[in-house]
């Protein structure tokens, strides 16, 4: 079995209001050295497969067709053997 650990992130050029709000809260908590916070999505998908190369291609396709919006998001992932 293979598990894909996928991160979907907003592009650096896209404003992240949630990240901004967290930065402000951290600053109020006294973490004055916090410069920026970005919120991402973390998705795990398990595959009944041992073929890393084929699954990599499949995860790429899943990310570009559904999980990430190419207008505003980028993604990266790693495959883990279970």
């Amino acid at each position: 079995m293979l598990k894909a650990k996928i991160f979907v992130q907003l592009k650096p050029s896209v404003l992240d209001p949630q990240g901004k709000a967290v930065s402000n809260s951290l600053s109020q908590l006294g973490y004055e050295n916090v410069i920026d916070t970005r919120i991402s999505k973390y998705i795990e998908i398990s595959f009944d497969s041992k073929d890393k190369s084929q699954t990599t291609k499949q995860v790429d396709k899943i990310c570009t067709s559904l999980l990430a919006n190419p207008n505003t998001e980028t993604y990266h992932f790693e495959l883990e053997e279970l």
């Binding site: 896209v14 404003l15 209001p17 949630q18 709000a21 559904l66 999980l67 919006n69 207008n71 505003t72």
Partner: protein, 231 residues
């Protein structure tokens, strides 16, 4: 006019839209997302709501509903489509309109009256409205912050695709009149083929005698003029 309104699981403004068209004497058809035919409409409405619970991204999962295949086919043939709120989000996720609706800058769900200005009359939906017309049309969304990259924004401007902008009561388009952080105060855009309009404000919530603002009637009257008396 024959108007087909698509209901996705989680749509909640479908009957409001249908009621407005029906009360104005038009023939309406409610289309379930699992249907495969649009019932030969003059206009398709993608209504507001929370299709598929807004899971993953607003509108992202609706695009896999069976009816969307027919919707895309209808769009490519030049069929007229109006996406309101979640309908606008579905249109961007389907790729029928450019850009994305991001979370509001203030992180909150906003439900209030909002002035918008007609910026372009070069669309079937606004051809019979005078540019500069100010309308009080309610908004109700958490993800209405329109975003497109600089190249895409320039293309929208160059091709006169920005149909509505958020403004104040005097028609001033500025930061103060922008409810959600939307790029360039964009409230509604049309595709390059000029047959698909997406807008975050809800004209169907301002078009019956029982509600505060009646300004949505201006919009529906303009749409009717185009469809019933020709371009």
């Amino acid at each position: 006019m024959r108007v087909s309104i698509i209901t996705f699981p989680g749509s909640n403004c479908d009957h409001d839209a249908a009621e407005v068209f029906a009360s104005r004497g038009h023939q309406t058809s409610m289309i379930w997302h699992k249907d495969s035919q649009l019932d030969n409409p003059d206009l398709v409405i993608l209504p507001g709501g929370f299709s598929y619970g807004d899971y993953l991204r607003c509108g992202a999962l609706a695009r896999f509903s069976p009816i969307v295949k027919e919707l895309v086919f209808f769009a490519k043939r030049g069929g007229y489509i109006l996406g309101i709120c979640n309908g606008f989000q579905i249109l961007t996720e389907t790729g029928l309109l450019p850009g994305t609706l991001l979370m509001n800058k203030g992180l909150r769900f906003i439900c209030k009256h909002q002035y918008i200005k007609v910026e372009s009359a070069d669309s079937p939906f606004t051809k019979h409205l005078i540019p500069g017309t100010i309308m009080d049309i309610p908004i109700a969304h958490k993800e209405g912050n329109y975003f497109i990259d600089a190249t895409g924004h320039k293309a929208l401007q160059d091709r006169d695709q920005i149909v509505f902008r958020y403004c104040d009561a005097h028609g001033m388009v500025n930061k103060e009149a922008n409810p959600n952080g939307s790029l360039d105060n964009i409230a509604g855009i049309i595709n390059t083929g000029r047959n698909i309009l997406g807008m975050m404000p809800h004209p169907e919530r301002a078009a019956t005698d029982s509600v505060c603002s009646q300004d949505g009637k201006l919009f529906f009257e303009a749409v009717e003029k185009y469809f019933e008396h020709g371009a």
